[in-house]
């Protein structure tokens, strides 16, 4: 059986499943009688002591091996010892005649909610700890022994609903071939851990825990985003070979990470990084990037039931500038009705991708836009910050946005708030209409960045989210290359820098074509940097131009792909 997943940490793992089920326990609300109170209180204390003993054992072990991770469990100990929670649980048992598991479940739920509703993220994150302690207690109450990721006796593929910090703190990474989970995306804890340990990971596989059980053989292809359960012998051999090929290629490619992005004939290019949070492993990779070409700010709005305050945003933007020590291109809020964003409460639309999204939403809710602009302008005092506007379709958008930016700037100047003397304003080129009036747009902006994913969606009339449209989403469609070439030519003629920050910008097959079309700046996910540098190093500008010319004469995306794979076979996997 094959299922699709989101490959958040590149690689390929083959092995047996170890299903990690921490969330499995039963809770019944059936009440106890008054005579049973004493016995049930004793039972509660027995559960609590057992959980405390588990925590102590983990802390002892971690303090020897990874003291920083012990802190997670010391925080859990504090929660377990919390007087108010303890008092409330005892009250539940003695007065409301709840059984111990129900008392634990409801009281922890209530305290968890208390923190979940808080404004500041740092406080909200602690709700996870409370949930974590609750799960431990309920598991102990059900008499289930802790599954332990630190004493795996053989290499396994870990399958889980989701992995929490407390699950992975004791993870024996040498025994983990791959990680697969039911929930979680690019920025989930599971993804961050997998990337920082270099473990292939495929997340967001629907119904995973019902599809696999302990000992099942699986292939985790976190290159093409596929999980193969119970593969045939032929498939096994095929993927084992693919894995070997990948490992060899990855090792060779790794050597390019620290190199400068200079073509074979000596033309320097700029390679940037796309980021969506300030994540530790990203920071390390930034050392190999020339700039942060796309700083997505949506996470600030997605992680909280309330709008991020100016102060919160300012702190985050400042942190990004100070942490990365590179020029940062901040993209203003780019969100629409396809996403459920509690703090924005967006109305449902029939065609959210053609509706109130990106800059349109910012115009619709100017107070939200102004708050973000103020925070960004304040942060500009701490580093090289540019602003990039998403979802621009005409010049009116640009005039209006610039006017708003100027008004905010003026107010701040009058109030004597420090900021950079000049801040560059650019746009995302992701709708064909602005690509086709590039010469006019160029007069109004300082730079542009081509977002190839949306440009593909809007040029080819394909809903990216619609699985049935997957075959129509053709990133190598010749029309796309023609359009990018046309826009790039006009922006460059006006002296305005062009970068590519969509998927094509980090694709070693597409980058040579884009170079041929005139692009000299690329921004990409960290895992693409070495690959892109590798192909750049072996390329001359003449060769790139030939490729670009050829590609624009080919008829279909399939032909383009096959042509590029043939031409560039020495540099790709």
């Amino acid at each position: 059986m094959r299922c699709k997943g989101n490959p958040v940490s590149e690689g390929l793992g083959i092995g047996e499943v170890y299903s990690y089920r921490t969330m499995e326990f039963t809770v019944s609300s059936s009440p106890i009688s008054r005579e049973q109170v004493g016995q049930n209180l004793a039972e509660y204390y027995r559960i609590k002591e057992k959980a405390a003993a588990e925590l102590k054992a983990i802390i002892d072990q971690l303090q020897r091996e990874q003291p920083d991770k012990a802190l997670i469990f010391m925080a859990h100990q504090e929660i377990l010892d919390d007087e108010a929670i303890d008092e409330k649980i005892r009250h539940e048992i003695t007065e409301n005649l709840s059984n111990p598991t129900w008392a634990i479940y409801t009281v922890y739920e209530e305290f968890g909610q208390l923190l979940k509703n808080m404004k500041k993220q740092v406080f909200r994150e602690r709700a996870q700890d409370i949930l974590d302690v609750r799960n431990r207690l309920l598991r102990v109450a059900n008499g289930i022994i802790a599954p332990n990721l630190n004493s795996l006796d053989k290499p396994v593929v870990i399958a889980a609903h989701d992995l929490l910090p407390s699950d992975t703190a004791t993870l024996d990474r040498s025994k983990v071939v791959a990680i697969i989970t039911e929930t979680g995306g690019e920025t989930s804890h599971s993804a961050i851990i997998a990337r920082s340990y270099g473990i292939p990971a495929l997340l967001g596989i629907p119904g995973l825990m019902n599809k696999v059980k302990d000992g099942d053989r699986v292939v985790v292809d976190a290159l093409d985003g596929e999980l193969i359960i119970d593969p045939t012998e032929e498939e096994l051999a095929e993927y084992a070979a693919k894995r070997e090929r990948y490992l060899k290629w990855a090792t060779d490619t790794e050597a390019y990470l620290g190199k400068k992005a200079v073509t074979k004939d000596g033309v320097s290019l700029e390679v940037g990084l796309n980021i969506g949070t300030v994540e530790e492993s990203r920071v390390k990779q930034a050392a190999y990037a020339d700039f942060i070409g796309l700083f997505r700010t949506e996470f600030l709005y997605l992680s909280s039931p309330e709008l991020p305050t100016e102060e919160e945003q300012y702190e985050t933007y400042k942190q990004v500038l100070e942490t990365f020590q590179r020029p940062v291109v901040l993209r203003t809020l780019d969100i629409g009705g396809d996403k459920n964003v509690p703090c924005l409460a967006l109305p449902k639309e029939d065609n959210p991708f053609l509706g109130v999204r990106g800059l349109r939403l910012c115009f619709d809710r100017p107070e939200i836009f102004q708050t973000q602009l103020r925070a960004a302008l304040r942060a500009s005092a701490h580093g090289d910050l540019s602003l990039m506007l998403p979802m621009v379709t005409n010049l009116d958008d640009i005039y209006q946005a610039k006017e708003l930016i100027n008004t905010v700037r003026q107010e701040m100047e009058e109030a004597g708030i420090p900021m950079a003397p000049k801040i560059k304003v650019g746009i995302m080129v992701e709708v064909p209409s602005v690509a086709l009036i590039a010469d006019l747009v160029a007069k109004e902006v300082d730079f542009v960045s081509i977002g190839t994913n949306d440009l593909c969606q809007y040029t080819l009339a394909v809903d990216r989210q619609n699985q049935r449209m997957a075959d129509y989403y053709q990133s190598y469609h010749p029309a796309l290359f023609r359009l990018i070439g046309y826009a790039t030519k006009h922006f460059l003629a006006a002296g305005k820098p062009v970068s590519v920050c969509g998927e094509l910008g980090g694709d070693p097959l597409a980058v040579p074509v884009l170079i041929g079309l005139g692009v000299r700046r690329f921004s990409m996910n960290p895992s693409s940097i070495a690959k892109v540098k590798r192909v750049i190093t072996h390329l001359t500008i003449d060769h790139a131009q030939e490729l670009a010319d050829q590609v624009q004469t080919l008829a279909t995306a399939g032909q383009v792909k096959r042509f590029l794979e043939r031409e560039l076979k020495d540099y790709i996997c």
Binding site: D82, L114, R126
Partner: protein, 93 residues
């Protein structure tokens, strides 16, 4: 009963290590200790020996809090906690 007020001066506010230090200090005393945030949006008084309650106040740098203790060592308790908060929990600027 004994009460006093103090302004939180450390950057993290009552979160992470400072919150735990605060609660652990409170637990050293026999008295019942309650606290609340002042400044504009006054909160209800909560048990200062509960880490979850203390976190739930969401106290940040610059917030003013009131600590109230009731018991044999009430004065010592409030004084010790006020001193701890006023010291900035040893967070260097």
């Amino acid at each position: 009963m004994y009460a006093d007020q103090v302004v939180v001066i450390n950057k993290t506010g009552l979160h992470a290590r400072p919150a735990y230090e605060f609660v652990n200090m409170a637990k050293r005393f026999e008295s019942n200790i309650m606290m609340r945030r002042l400044d504009g949006s006054d909160t209800e008084a909560i048990n200062a020996k509960s880490i979850v309650f203390v976190l739930s106040l969401g106290i940040c740098e610059g917030d003013k809090i009131e600590i109230v203790a009731d018991g044999d060592d009430e004065k010592e308790a409030v004084e010790a906690l006020v001193k701890l908060v006023a010291s900035g929990f040893g967070e260097a600027e």
